[in-house]
């Protein structure tokens, strides 16, 4: 198993990053840290996808000198998918950060537990 993992280190690193990001997202109380964890998870997924399309010894998928054999270039499909994903991850980050600012304006706290307690008290009164 270890030998196999050492052969695809990109995927191993991506999986470890995914685990770390997931843990930050779930177990940190600070909202900004949670958003960062979400971003780490995003990039981990992109790394995994891009490593699926990588082929050793082949070049960037840009046609040079009219060479159009499959053996010359890496797989372009994951690159295209990840390219659109990166930009969407920025917009979700901006949305989450603006929600965080609104929450801080109302409750004066970044701690999710405190915010939940205060929201519950507000409901009761």
């Amino acid at each position: 198993m270890l030998q196999h993992l050492s052969l695809n280190i990109e995927e191993t690193a991506a999986v470890i990053l995914f685990g770390v990001g997931f843990t930050i997202l779930l177990l940190h109380r600070n909202l900004i840290k949670k958003i960062m964890g979400m971003n780490v998870m995003d990039t981990a997924t992109y790394l995994f996808l891009a490593s699926k399309g990588y082929i050793t010894g082949r070049a960037v998928p840009i046609v040079v000198d009219g060479v159009q054999e499959v053996e010359a270039y890496i797989n372009p499909v994951p690159s295209g998918l990840v390219l659109t994903g990166i930009v969407v991850s920025v917009s979700t980050t901006a949305l989450m950060l603006s929600l965080t600012i609104r929450l801080y304006e109302r409750y004066h706290s970044l701690d999710l537990d405190e915010i939940l307690i205060m929201a519950k008290e507000e409901e009761q009164t």
Binding site: E10, I16, M36, L47, V60, V90
Partner: protein, 88 residues
């Protein structure tokens, strides 16, 4: 090249772990920025320069600016609250 890639991936994991363990938010945002830059180098090694350009402009640039602005806004709100408390 393989060794260089290994070192970069190790740095990536270390950056992610230190984002998790730093207490100061500003420090962790800067570490996150460096995380994006290392990611950009890895895209170059994985033969996808399109992704490298996008990651450098979007991940290291705009996302970190948005995080910094959020932090600044939150500090401004906190400061305002403290001023009023001292007056009252």
């Amino acid at each position: 090249m393989r060794l260089f890639e290994c070192i970069l991936l190790l740095c990536l994991v270390l950056c992610a772990l230190s984002v998790a363990f730093t207490k100061d938010l500003l420090t962790s945002i800067i570490i996150f920025m460096s995380y994006s830059l290392i990611m950009c180098l890895i895209w170059m090694i994985l033969q996808s320069p399109d992704l490298a350009i996008t990651e450098a402009a979007v991940g290291a640039g705009v996302t970190s600016i948005l995080f910094f602005l959020t932090l600044k806004k939150i500090r401004a709100i906190r400061k305002e609250g403290q001023d009023e408390q001292e007056e009252g």
